[in-house]
Symmetry: C2
Subunit: 757 residues, 2 copies
Amino acid sequence: MKKYFKVDAWNIVEDNFMEEKNKISESIFSIGNGYMGQRGNFEEDYSGLTLKGTYMAGIYYPDRTRVGWWKNGYPKYFAKVLNSTNWIGIKVNVNGKCFDISRCKIESFKRVLNMREGYLYRQVIATFKDGERIKLETKRFVSIVSKEIGAIKYSITPLNFSGEISFFPYLDGDVRNADANYGEKFWSEVSKGIRKNEAHLLIKTKKLDFYLCSCMKYYIVSESKKHKLRYKEASKEKFVGSKIKLWLKEEEEVSLFKYVSNVTSRDFKIEELINKGKEILDSAVKKGFDSLLYEQAKAWINKWEKSDIVIEDDLEAQQAIRYNIFQLNQTYTGEDSRLNIGPKGFTGEKYGGGTYWDTEAYCLPFYLATQGKEVARNLLLYRYNQLEKAKENAKKIGLKKGALYPMVTMNGEECHNEWEITFEEIHRNGAIAYAIYNYVNYTGDKEYLKRYGIEVLVELSRFWEERVNFSCDKNKYVILGVTGPNEYENNVNNNWYTNRIAAWTLEYTIEILEEFKSYSALKVKEKEVNKWKHIVENMYYPIDKNLGIFLQQDGYLDKEQLTVKDIPKEELPINQKWSWDRILRSCFIKQADVLQGLYFFQHLYDIDTIRRNFEFYEPKTVHESSLSPCIHSILACKLKKIDKAYELYLRTARLDLDNYNNDTNDGCHITSMAGTWMAVVQGFGGFYIRKDLIFLDPIVPDNWRGFSFNVMFREKLIKVKVDKNFIEVKNEGENAINIIIKGKTYNLEGGKTVIHK
Amino acid sequence: MKKYFKVDAWNIVEDNFMEEKNKISESIFSIGNGYMGQRGNFEEDYSGLTLKGTYMAGIYYPDRTRVGWWKNGYPKYFAKVLNSTNWIGIKVNVNGKCFDISRCKIESFKRVLNMREGYLYRQVIATFKDGERIKLETKRFVSIVSKEIGAIKYSITPLNFSGEISFFPYLDGDVRNADANYGEKFWSEVSKGIRKNEAHLLIKTKKLDFYLCSCMKYYIVSESKKHKLRYKEASKEKFVGSKIKLWLKEEEEVSLFKYVSNVTSRDFKIEELINKGKEILDSAVKKGFDSLLYEQAKAWINKWEKSDIVIEDDLEAQQAIRYNIFQLNQTYTGEDSRLNIGPKGFTGEKYGGGTYWDTEAYCLPFYLATQGKEVARNLLLYRYNQLEKAKENAKKIGLKKGALYPMVTMNGEECHNEWEITFEEIHRNGAIAYAIYNYVNYTGDKEYLKRYGIEVLVELSRFWEERVNFSCDKNKYVILGVTGPNEYENNVNNNWYTNRIAAWTLEYTIEILEEFKSYSALKVKEKEVNKWKHIVENMYYPIDKNLGIFLQQDGYLDKEQLTVKDIPKEELPINQKWSWDRILRSCFIKQADVLQGLYFFQHLYDIDTIRRNFEFYEPKTVHESSLSPCIHSILACKLKKIDKAYELYLRTARLDLDNYNNDTNDGCHITSMAGTWMAVVQGFGGFYIRKDLIFLDPIVPDNWRGFSFNVMFREKLIKVKVDKNFIEVKNEGENAINIIIKGKTYNLEGGKTVIHK
C-alpha cells in the first residue's frame, strides 16, 4: 500500500487523491530552481493535512537554541530555513462557497510532476455539496531560466451549471515555520501595495534583516473574453491580494495566469527591491506563460543531456534515478557560492536546511560528474569562505589552532547542539579535505588548489595536529572522544575511520605543500610539517589480526557479536524501537563507518581487505541513515556481490517515492539522492577516478538492459553505455583520456568511441 | 569578601545588610521541619533581589520534559518540587507608605539563625525617605513538634514619630516556580475564606491533584492594649488576607502574631482539609507563640543531644559542622517513608528536589549514626516501595528483567533526560545495594533484610545479570556504555567502580540468599544464582600492573596524563571554562570514582592499594561536585595524610556559608552536608563499622581540641571524645560491644567507658 505513484519513465503521477497521504505527496511534488522552491501545496484553500512550505535559498533565521541540559560550547542558535511568503495562493469561490478539495467529492484527481520539462500539473473534477461540478486544471513552475520567476496557470470549468466563480490571488507573508523552537513567527512587514491585478509585499526577518519582496500580477483569460473585471483589493498585516468575480456559463473554461517574482536583499539593495521585483516580473509577464514554460522545458531538456541515466527494462529503477537527478538539479545549480544543499532541499524544514558533511561526502560527486567544474567549485568555495568561522569554531571547543568545520551550518557558525555530535563528530573535517582531493581528480584544477584549497587543507591539518594526543601507554597517537559516521556509538576512542581520514588529510596536505613548495606563503613551519609526518607515521589504528579487519573503535569486539538477522523484525528500525542506551551498547551500526573509509580509500587497500571488512560489518549494519545503503551497494559491486548490491540499491533509490522510512511527509532525502546516483554510476557503473585515470568496471543487474550514463572528466563529457555483451565509451572532449575498462587500458582520443567486449 | 557571616558556635549571624547577597542569605537562613520549609525570605514586601520559596515535602509537579534532541527512553516529565502558598507574607504600611527594606535607609540589620533552638530572628532599624524611623523585630519558625504549624512574631516600633501603621497578613497561592520548563503556573484555586483575622486558602496542583490548605489567624498585641481593631478583608485569585490599621505613639511597640497551619491531601482526605487545618491551627493558637517556641527549643536541644559534634578551638569548623547537621535535621526527619532528601532540601528549587543516589551514598550514614534505625529504615523503604517502578524502568531501557532505580525521581519514575546520565549512570543501583548492607551493619536489623531488603537485592542482581555481557574477546564479563560517578566521562566501557559494585551486589545477594535459604520464596532459580556466581568469578576489571592501580575505565591511560596543578587557575572550574568535549577528553575527574569504590570497600583492600590509587587519582580530581572532597578527605585520613584531609574538609564544610562555588543563591547543598558529617566522623574520627565490629582510628588536625561525636550502633548511643592524649568511648547501651580502637580490641560493656591512651 505504500507505493501509490504510477511508474513512468519521465513523470511522477498520482492519480487518486488520498487525503492521509497528502503531506507525502506535497514533498514528492516539490519544485525548485536552486534559488527558491516549494512543496507541492495546492493553490486554493485546503483544510486537510498539509505542510505549507515556500523557501528561499540562503534565507534563514537564527532560532534560539532549545536544550534540556546546557553544555559549554553549545551554539546560541540553530539556523532554520524559513517558510516564506506564500505566493502561490489563490482562493476560489464557487457560487459563494469556498473551493476546498477536502470538502468536495472528488471524481477524478491527477497530480503530475513532469521531470523532463520541469513543471507541476494538476487536474481535478470535484463536486460541491450543493451539486456544482467543476473541473480544475493547473500548471505551475519555478523558472530555471529567470530564477526569480514563478508562474501558475489555474483554470476552472463549471461542468453542470452556470454561476459565479471568484478568484482571490494573494501574497501571504504571515506564515509560520512548523519547526520553531519557541513557536515564534519569524517575519515582519516592511511595506505592501495592491492595485487591481498587481501587488507587492516586502517583508523582513525579525533577526538578521533578510528582506524578501514578492511581486505579483495576474490575468484572466476565458473563451468568451468579454468579462468585465472589477478588482476588489484586500490587505492585512503581511498580506495583500485582490478579488474578482466572474459569471461563467456551463462548460466555459476560465484561466487565471499568476506571475510572481521574488527578490531578496541577498542580491539587491533594500531600497531597490520593489523596483527590481517589478522589473523582473514585467519582463516575465511580457513573455507570457507559454513562452516561459517553453524556455523552462528547453532548459530542463538541456540539463538532462548531461545528467540523464538510462535504465531500460527496469521502469521502477528508471523512474527512481530520474527523480533523484531531477531533485538534485532543482536543489542546487551552483550559481551562488553562498548556497549549499540542505538535507531536505526545498521539500521541507527538517534538519533546519543547513549544510552537513553530506555535501562533501555524498553530493559533490554528482555535481562534479554531471555539472562540472564551476558548479562543484562553488561548493568548495562555500567552505573556503567560511574558513575563518571554522577557525573560531576550533577555538570555541578549546583548541589553539586549526579549523573545525561545523556539523550543521548556514554561515559557517555551528548550529547543532548535541555534544556527542557537535563536539565529537569531527570526522566531518576529513570529508572536506577529501572533497578537495575529489575535485582535483575530476577537474585537474590545480589553480583552485593553489589559491584556496591548500589554505583549507593546512588549517584542517593543524586541527588534527592538536586534536590527536600521544598515548604513552600505546606509544602511538590516538584520537579520543569522537563519534564516527556511525552515530549509534558516541564518545568512542580511536574510531578507525576518523583516525584514518585524519592521517590521510595530513599526508595529502604534506604532498600538496611539497608539490607547490608553498610553505612560506601559508606560514606553515617546517616544524609543523615534521610533526604532521610524525603523526602520520605513528597513528594508532585499531585492528583485529585474527579476523583481518579494522576495528570500528577500541573495544568494539567486547560487544555481543550479532547480526541484523538476530533482531526480531518488530524491533526494527531500532532507532524507533530501542532505547538509546541499548542502541549504544549493541554492535549494530547505523551507516557505513569503517566501510565509508574503505570506500573513500579503495585505491589503498586490496580487494581481500575490503571483502573481509565488508563481510564483517555489512551484516551488522541496520542502514538507518538514508546515506548508508549507497556506500554498501558500491562496495558490493566492487566485490561482485551483485544481488546484495541491487538489494541495497533498491533501499535507497525509491526511498521517498515509496516512503520507505515513513518520513517523506517531512520532506525528501535530497542528499541521499546523490548517494543513489553514486550507487548507479560508481557501483553498477564501476566508475572511479584516481588522479588522471578513469576506471570502469561495470557489473549490472540481470534485469537491466540499455544502461547508460554520462560523466564529466576534466571538463569533457564521457558517455558510457553498458550492455550484456559490450561496454561503449565515447569521449566527447578534444583531448585523449586514459581509461581502464575492466582492467584493460585504452588511450581514448577526443571525439572517439571505444567498445570493450 | 565572600565570608560575611559572623563566626559563632551556635548561630549564623548576618549583621550588615547587603542587597546583592540577599539570595545567598535567603538560602542560608532557610528553615524547615522535614514536612515543610522555606527560604529566609522577608515577611514584608521586598523589591530587591529575592528568590521566594516555600516548599511542602512530597508535593511536586510533573513538568513536561524540555529537550534539544529527543532520545528513545527519555521520560515525559521532570518532577519539580513546588513553590507553594506563601504563608509568611505581611504587608506593612507606615503613614500610608509601603515598608520595603530596599527602599529605606538601613541603620542596623541583623538576621540570626538560632540553630540550637531552631528559629530565625531579625532586627532592623530603618528610616523612610520622609524621615520615619522604625524598629522591626521578628521571630519565625516551623515547628518540629507540630509539623503543620508555622508561627511568626512580627514587631514594629515607631522610633521618632507617632503615626499610622497598617498590617496586611495574607496567604498567597498565586506563586511561580523560578524553574518551570515552559513558564507555566502550577497551582489553581479550589476555595478560600477570610473573616476578620482568620483565613484559609485551598489550592490544588494543575496535574496530579495535590491539595494544599493553609489556614491563618493573627493577633495584635501592643503595650497600650486599647487599639480598636477593624479588619478590612481582601481577596483575589488564589489570595486572601485582611488589613488592619493602628495609630501608634512614638516608641510604642506593636507585635503581630501570625499562626499558620498547612495541611495537604497527602495526609488527609480532601473534604477534611479545611477542618483539619483549622483544628490544628486552633490548638497551636491556644498554646500561644511563646509556648510553641519553648516546645521547639526543647525538641531541637533533644535532637542535638544525639547528633551534635563538638570541635573546640576551631570555631569556623564548629559552626560549619553544626550548620550542616542542623540543615540535615531540618530536611529529613524520617517520619514518612514517602519522603526523601532533595539536593537542596527546603532551600531552593534547583535539581527539581528529587531523590538522587546522594541519599544512599552520602546521606544514609548520617541518619543511621545520629537518628538510628527507624529513620534510616524509612529511607530504605522509600526505595523498596518504588521497586515496581524500578522494574518498569529497567524494561524501558530494553532489559527483560531486574530493576533499575532512576537517576532522579519523586515517585519511582525516572525524571532525568540526558542519555549519558539517565541511561548510563547505572552505578546508582550499586549504592542502593550498599545502603542495605550499611543499614544492616549499623542496626543489625535482619528482619528488614528478610522482609524487604532481599527482594530489592535480587532485582538489582537480575539487572546486573542482564546488563553485563560476555566479551569473547576478553573471555570475561564486561559492562559497556556507562557513566561512572565521574560524570566528566560518558559512555565508557568497564568503569572499574561500576564493574566492582555490580559484582559486589551479586556476591552480597548470594550471601544473603544462602544465609536465609530463601530462594524459593523469592522465585530465585538456582540457575540464576549460578549465573551470578559465574559473573562474579569472571568479571573483568581494568587495571594497570605497572602503576599498581585500578583503571577508571578502559583506555584511561591513553589520555594525556596531567594533574590539576597543570591547569591555569583562570581555567578553573573547568566545567565553567572548558567546552564539554575538552573536559571529556581530558584526564580530569569530577568526583571520586575509583576512590568511591575504595571508600565503600576499604575492608577488602590493603592500605598500599588504597594509597597507590589515592596518589594517582586525587591529583587529577578537580572536585567540581560538592560530593567529592569528603570521600577524599576520609581516605586521606586513613592514609594519615592529615594536611590533605584537612584541606579537603575545608572545601566541603563551609561550602555554603562561604559560598565557595558561587551558587548558594540557588539554595544550599544539603546532600553534600552529609558528606561533611562523614568527613568528620569517618575521616577524622576514623569511625567505621564492619558487620558487628566498630573500628575507631581517629587522627585530628593540630588545631582541634575537645573533639567529640556520637554514633548510633545497634540502636545504642556510643559517645566518643578524642583528645591529644586519649580516646574516650562511652557505651550508653545495655549490651557489650566489640570496639577496635587504633588496632586494639576492647569488649566494652553497656553503660561503661573505656579510655585508650
